[in-house]
C-alpha cells in the first residue's frame, strides 16, 4: 500500500512534469475558469441579494421594527426611544405615525400613506434624507411642508414603475392638497422629492410629527424603526428591549421583507442551480481531459501493467494528477478571483435599479467549492482510469 502510493506519486509527478505542457495548461486553465465561474455567479447573486436587502433596510424597515401589541399605539414613546438609544449596538431609532390619505394636484390624484416623522432622528435610521432629487428633507420647524417619494410625485420621471398612478409632474415648490379620512383637507408646499430607487419606500410621504399632530390630534406612535451597528444581531437588541417593556412586539427586517423575501429566496435557488451546473461542467472537463489523455496512454499503461505495476497504483497516479490539477487550478482561480475579478468589479460595479451590486467574497463558500471540485475531480478521473485498466494488457499494448 505504501509502496503503491509512493510509486503512484512518482508516476503522477513525472506525468505532469514531462508530459505535454499544453495538456497541463489546458487542464489547469479549465479548472481556473470553472472555479472562478462558480464563485463569480454565487458572489454576484449574493451581492445582488445583499444590495436589495441593504436597500430594504436603509430605506424601508431599519434592522428592527418595534410595534405595539395592541392597536392603540406605543405608550410613552419618548422614554422608550431614549432607552432604546442607550442599548449597546443601536445606531439610531426613530418613530412613525401614519394615516392613509389622498393627494391631489389639479386633476391628478394619488393614494398614499402620510407618515408623521421626527425629522431630527429619521436620518439616524434611514438614508432617505440623503436621497433627495429635488428640494430638501424636512426639518423640525417646517410648517405646511410635505416631502414626497418620487413614485408619488412623479416629478416628470416617466421611467418610474408607478408613474402612471403618481401625480406625474409635481416638483419641489409646488402645492399639493391632502384629503385626510373624515373629510379634513390641507394644502402643503412640496419641500422636496426623494428617490431611494426602491419602489416601496419611494411611495412614502412625510410630514413632521408636529404637522401630524395638527391633522391627527392624539395620534400615537405606531412603530419605531431601529438601525443597528454593523454585526450586531437583531435578537440581542430585541431581548434588551423586551427587558424594558412587555407591551411590544418586534419584527426583524427579514420578517418585514415581504416581496423582497420571495425574490431573494428565488435567487438563492437560482444560485444553487447555477452552482450545480458549474460543477457538472467541471466534472465533464476533468473527465474529458483524463479520458482523451488516457486514450493516448493505453499502450504505456499496458506496459506499466506488463512489467508488474498493479492497477490500483496506476489508477492512483492519474487520481493524483487530477488532484494536482484541481488544487493548482482552484488555487490560481481563488487568487484570480480575490485579487483580480473582485477588485475590478468593485471598481466597475454592476448597476441594477436597486443600486450597485458588489461581488460578495465569501471565503467559506470558496473553500466549500474547492472541496467539491476536488471530490468531483477524483470521481471524474477515476472513471476513465478504471476503464483503461479494464482493457486487457494485450489489447492495451498491441491492440488499437
Amino acid at each position: 500500500m505504501r509502496k503503491s502510493i509512493s510509486v503512484a506519486n512518482f508516476l503522477a509527478r513525472k506525468l505532469v512534469a514531462r508530459s505535454n505542457w499544453g495538456l497541463n495548461f489546458m487542464a489547469i486553465f479549465m479548472i481556473v475558469i470553472v472555479y472562478v465561474n462558480i464563485n463569480f455567479t454565487s458572489s454576484l447573486l449574493n451581492g445582488f441579494i445583499s444590495t436589495v436587502n441593504e436597500k430594504l433596510i436603509s430605506s424601508q424597515t431599519g434592522n428592527v421594527v418595534v410595534l405595539p401589541k395592541n392597536s392603540d399605539g406605543i405608550e410613552s414613546p419618548v422614554v422608550l426611544l431614549d432607552d432604546i438609544r442607550k442599548i449597546n449596538g443601536v445606531a439610531g431609532a426613530t418613530e412613525t405615525r401614519s394615516v392613509p390619505a389622498e393627494l391631489s394636484k389639479g386633476q391628478e390624484k394619488s393614494l398614499a400613506e402620510i407618515s408623521g416623522i421626527n425629522p431630527s432622528t429619521y436620518g439616524d435610521v434611514f438614508v432617505t434624507p440623503k436621497n433627495m432629487i429635488e428640494g430638501e428633507f424636512l426639518t423640525k420647524d417646517d410648517k405646511d411642508k410635505i416631502v414626497l417619494g418620487a413614485q408619488i410625485a412623479g416629478a416628470d420621471i416617466s421611467r418610474l414603475e408607478l408613474y402612471s398612478d403618481s401625480l406625474k409632474n409635481v416638483h419641489a415648490g409646488d402645492k399639493v392638497t391632502v384629503n385626510y379620512p373624515g373629510g379634513f383637507k390641507k394644502e402643503y408646499t412640496v419641500k422636496g422629492i426623494f428617490l431611494n430607487e426602491f419602489f416601496e419606500s419611494d411611495l412614502k410621504t412625510f410630514i413632521t410629527d408636529n404637522e401630524y399632530g395638527l391633522v391627527q390630534p392624539g395620534g400615537k406612535v405606531e412603530s419605531i424603526n431601529i438601525k443597528l451597528e454593523k454585526g450586531v444581531p437583531e435578537s440581542y437588541v430585541i431581548d434588551q428591549i423586551k427587558k424594558l417593556r412587555s407591551d411590544l412586539q418586534f419584527r426583524t427586517w427579514e420578517e418585514r421583507a415581504g416581496f423582497v423575501k420571495g425574490f431573494t429566496d428565488t435567487l438563492k435557488v437560482v444560485n444553487r442551480i447555477l452552482g450545480f451546473a458549474a460543477i457538472l461542467v467541471a466534472a465533464i472537463t476533468i473527465f474529458i481531459v483524463t479520458y482523451v489523455d488516457l486514450i493516448n496512454k493505453r499502450r504505456q499503461i499496458g506496459i506499466e501493467r506488463a512489467i508488474g505495476i498493479n492497477a490500483p497504483t496506476i489508477i492512483l497516479s492519474y487520481e493524483l494528477r487530477a488532484l494536482f490539477y484541481t488544487i493548482i487550478g482552484s488555487s490560481i482561480g481563488a487568487l484570480v478571483f480575490i485579487y483580480a475579478v473582485v477588485p475590478i468589479e468593485r471598481a466597475y460595479p454592476f448597476k441594477i435599479p436597486y443600486g450597485k451590486v458588489f461581488l460578495q467574497l465569501n471565503y467559506n463558500n470558496m473553500i466549500i467549492y474547492a472541496v467539491i471540485l476536488v471530490a468531483v475531480a477524483i470521481v471524474a478521473a477515476l472513471i476513465p482510469a478504471w476503464r483503461t485498466i479494464r482493457i486487457s494488457i494485450i489489447d492495451a499494448i498491441w491492440g488499437n
Binding site: 508516476l11 513525472k14 506488463a306 512489467i307 508488474g308 505495476i309 498493479n310 497504483t313 494485450i394
Partner: protein
C-alpha cells in the same frame, strides 16, 4: 521451472476464430537460454506472452515452480511478473515520461525489496548495458538500440528468475542488434538468468542453449522448409 501443458490459444475476431497456438507443451529449465523460432504468424509472441503471464491460454495449464498459475487473479499475476519476470518487447516499450534511469528503477521502486539501493542497482545495470552516460535521457532522446538496452536493464532490475524477450532486435540494425543479443547472452552467462527469446533470424541460434520451432501454432522438431 516454468511449464505449459497442452496450451492452446484461439483469438476471436468477431465471428472468426484465429487459432494461434495449438496444444503446445513446453518446459523451460532453469538457467537455459531458449530461442523460439518460426515464421511470422506462427504464434511465437502468443506463446511468449502466455509464458510471461501477460496473456492466458484458451485451454491448457501453466505451472511456475510446480504451482498452477493459470487461474490466478490479475493482482497476483501482476505481483509474480514484478517479482520473478522481466520483459523486453519487440517494439520500444519504455515509459516516455521517465528518463532511462527512472524507467529502469520503476519496477524496483514498486517491488520495494531494496528500498535504499534501488537507484544504485539501476545505475549499475545501466552501466552494465553501456548506457551510464545516457541515464538522464528520455526515451525519445535515445536510439532504438539504446532503448532496447534500457529495456533489458529494466527487465533485470528485480533480479528476475526469467527474462522474456520478443524479437528484441527486430527494429535494430545488425550492429545494434548484435549488441543487444550479446547483452542478453552475457546476462545468462554471468547472472544465470533464464532467458527465453524469440527470433526469426537463424544467426541468433548461436546465443541459444536450445531452440524450439513453431509452425502454425505447433511445436515442430525440425526446421520447416
Amino acid at each position: 521451472m516454468l511449464k505449459i501443458k497442452n496450451a492452446s490459444k484461439i483469438y476471436k475476431l468477431g465471428d472468426v476464430e484465429v487459432p494461434a497456438l495449438n496444444n503446445v507443451t513446453l518446459t523451460i529449465k532453469e538457467g537455459e537460454m531458449l530461442c523460439i523460432m518460426g515464421r511470422s504468424g506462427s504464434g511465437k509472441s502468443t506463446l511468449l506472452r502466455i509464458l510471461g503471464l501477460i496473456d492466458s491460454p484458451t485451454k491448457g495449464k501453466i505451472y511456475l515452480s510446480g504451482k498452477d498459475v493459470g487461474k490466478l487473479k490479475e493482482k497476483v499475476r501482476s505481483r509474480i511478473r514484478l517479482e520473478t519476470m522481466g520483459y523486453v518487447f519487440q517494439e520500444y516499450a519504455l515509459l516516455s515520461e521517465l528518463t532511462a534511469l527512472e524507467n529502469v528503477y520503476l519496477p524496483a521502486k514498486m517491488l520495494g525489496r531494496w528500498p535504499k539501493e534501488y537507484k544504485d542497482r539501476a545505475i549499475t545495470l545501466l552501466d552494465a548495458v553501456g548506457l551510464l552516460n545516457r541515464m538522464k535521457h528520455l526515451p525519445r532522446q535515445l536510439s532504438g538500440g539504446q532503448q532496447q538496452r534500457v529495456a533489458i536493464a529494466r527487465a533485470m532490475v528485480n533480479k528476475p528468475e526469467i527474462i522474456f524477450a520478443d524479437e528484441p532486435t527486430a527494429n535494430l540494425d545488425s550492429k545494434a542488434g548484435k549488441n543487444v543479443m550479446e547483452t542478453l547472452y552475457w546476462l545468462n552467462k554471468n547472472y544465470k538468468t533464464t532467458i527465453v527469446f524469440v527470433s526469426h533470424d537463424e544467426s541468433d541460434k548461436k546465443y541459444a542453449s536450445r531452440v524450439v520451432r513453431l509452425l502454425d501454432g505447433r511445436i515442430v522438431k525440425r526446421k520447416p522448409i
